[in-house]
């Protein structure tokens, strides 16, 4: 709804758009209290917002500059109502979402701000929810969003996502933001499981909107969607009944969402056209190797390692190197894995990453050095970012102690 209103008011009037939506919700609370909730609440809200927008546009016709690309059409009663009708039409809502999505990924905004903005404006996630999802202070997120909105306001007209040249120029930034959004939900440090799932779902929804549009349907978008589906397929098994994190090797694979996995495989196939090979392709391919293995032992580790090798050439990072080392350990034993971890060049960047210590611990445990393993898990525990991680490392420490006593 905010996206549709911003389409008519212009990006610089984002606050006005948000006010109108807020207003519609307030009216709803008042009216529904007496008359009950209407049959189609979202249509009611949409209609209310639409009327309010018409009011504002008529009243402030000359006082304000609205969306420049629509200005002519909003100026005159000949076209005002039909244009508003058009902008709020169900088909157009998707276009508006797309436009807003691309506007949020403004090149002058840091990636973290883009993600926060997408969440706030497109997903309607409140500032405090975003703060809790990103483990930062409410005030910090508020500031980040306010600053980001100011940058947007300088552009006035909504990004014309339907112009193919502009579209492809900004598409990588949009992919990146959606990827980060998904990752935040999947690996993020949030304490609340619910919020995390929600972030993944929102990222998938927006990616689907992108895929739904002819110009968004690129191999890279398919790869991104495949990656999300394949990862999301594992979500149900990632946390056990008690809310504890479960490592990939211990997951009950019968709880994996087969439908999503199949969908992911299909998307991955669709992504395999054209000449561009991105990190999304590779990460999706790695996830597909896991999805294909009914048991941990069936995993084609050689394939996983070679995919990580490719990933290291496209987008080298210590985290990728760490994951590669873990795959090598699965394939060739913990000693080789530890050697690989030891040879990670910029390992100091992993110092704060709890799963770096945890990986060391796991491999030491596997080769029987319980005492060293215990120390590593202790370090991981000290770095844990939420209760779920803390419980997980606690349990691993327990495993070391039991192993040591034998």
């Amino acid at each position: 709804m905010v996206a549709a209103l911003t389409r008519v008011f212009g990006v610089h009037n984002l606050a006005l758009a948000e006010d109108v939506v807020q207003d519609a919700f307030c009216r709803a609370v008042e009216v529904w209290k007496f008359r009950g909730v209407p049959e189609n609440p979202s249509a009611w809200l949409m209609a209310t917002a639409k009327h309010r927008a018409l009011d504002i546009l008529r009243r402030q016709r000359t006082a304000r500059i609205f969306a420049p690309e629509l200005e002519r059409l909003l100026e005159s009663e000949w076209t005002l109502a039909p244009v508003i009708e058009e902008v709020f039409a169900p088909g157009a809502i998707k276009d508006n979402l797309l436009r807003m999505m691309f506007s949020c990924c403004h090149p002058r905004l840091p990636e973290a701000a883009q993600v926060a903005l997408v969440l706030h404006i497109l997903c309607g996630v409140s500032v405090s929810e975003i703060a809790s999802a990103f483990v930062s202070a409410h005030a910090a997120i508020e500031k980040r969003i306010t600053r980001a909105k100011k940058v947007l306001a300088t552009s006035k007209s909504l990004f014309d996502a339907l112009d193919p040249a502009q579209f492809s120029a900004r598409l990588p930034a949009v992919h990146r933001a959606l990827y980060l959004l998904f990752n935040e939900g999947y690996h993020g440090a949030s304490a609340e499981t619910v919020v995390r799932m929600e972030l993944c779902r929102e990222a998938m929804r927006l990616t689907a909107v992108l895929l739904d549009h002819p110009i968004g349907t690129t191999p890279v978008t398919y790869a991104l969607a495949a990656l999300m589906s394949l990862h999301a397929a594992r979500l149900p098994a990632r946390v056990d009944a008690a809310g504890n994190l479960v490592a990939l090797c211990d997951q009950d694979r019968s709880r994996w969402d087969q439908e999503l996995a199949v969908e992911g495989m299909k998307l991955l196939e669709l992504s395999a056209t054209g000449s561009e090979l991105t990190e999304y392709h590779i990460e999706a391919a790695i996830a597909s190797v896991h999805a294909r293995a009914p048991r941990m032992d069936d995993t084609d580790w050689e394939k996983v390692v070679s995919l990580y090798d490719t990933l290291m050439t496209i987008r080298p990072s210590p985290i990728v190197a760490l994951n590669r080392a873990i795959a090598i350990a699965q394939n060739k034993g913990p000693e080789r894995g530890l050697e690989e971890i030891g040879s990670i060049t910029d390992a100091d960047r992993l110092a704060k990453y709890p799963f770096y210590s945890a990986a060391l611990g796991e491999l030491e445990l596997r080769r029987g050095s319980h005492e060293t393993a215990r120390e590593h898990f202790g370090a991981a525990l000290a770095l844990a970012r939420n209760p779920m991680e803390r419980r997980f490392f606690d349990q691993r420490i327990g495993a070391c102690e039991r192993g040591g006593a034998q």
């Binding site: 002519r72 059409l73 100026e75 005159s76 000949w78 076209t79 039909p82 058009e86």
Partner: protein
């Protein structure tokens, strides 16, 4: 470039809601088309068929424009065109013509004192 006023006479008031909707869509499409070409100086507005007319020194007020529906001015617009022929050419795209209406193309007169 010169300015012309388009006076739209006669308006489609009958027809099913679907027909009206279709008609409006055509109208918006035409607007967008000539607007994109930079031919609209001022989009003007549609005019309600009601109102009052003030006449003469005595300022006599009568209800309504009292003309036949087909002659009623239903709206106006200011257009930029090379010359009258060009302006007339632009007016031919107006959907009102399909609904049995008329477009009166009138050059703006530049008064010299």
């Amino acid at each position: 470039m010169s300015e012309f006023t388009f006076l739209f006479r006669g308006r489609a008031t009958s027809g099913s809601p679907e027909e009206m909707q279709k008609h409006m869509e055509k109208w918006v499409a035409w607007f967008k088309e000539i607007s994109a070409k930079g031919q609209i100086k001022d989009p003007g507005h549609p005019l309600a068929p009601t109102g009052q007319t003030v006449t003469g020194k005595q300022k006599i007020i009568t209800d309504g424009p009292y003309v036949e529906a087909k002659d009623l001015v239903g709206g106006y617009m200011l257009v930029e065109a090379k010359d009258l022929a060009h302006a007339v050419e632009i007016s031919k795209g107006c959907p009102i013509l399909e609904a049995g209406g008329a477009v009166e193309v009138r050059p703006i007169e530049q008064l010299t004192l």
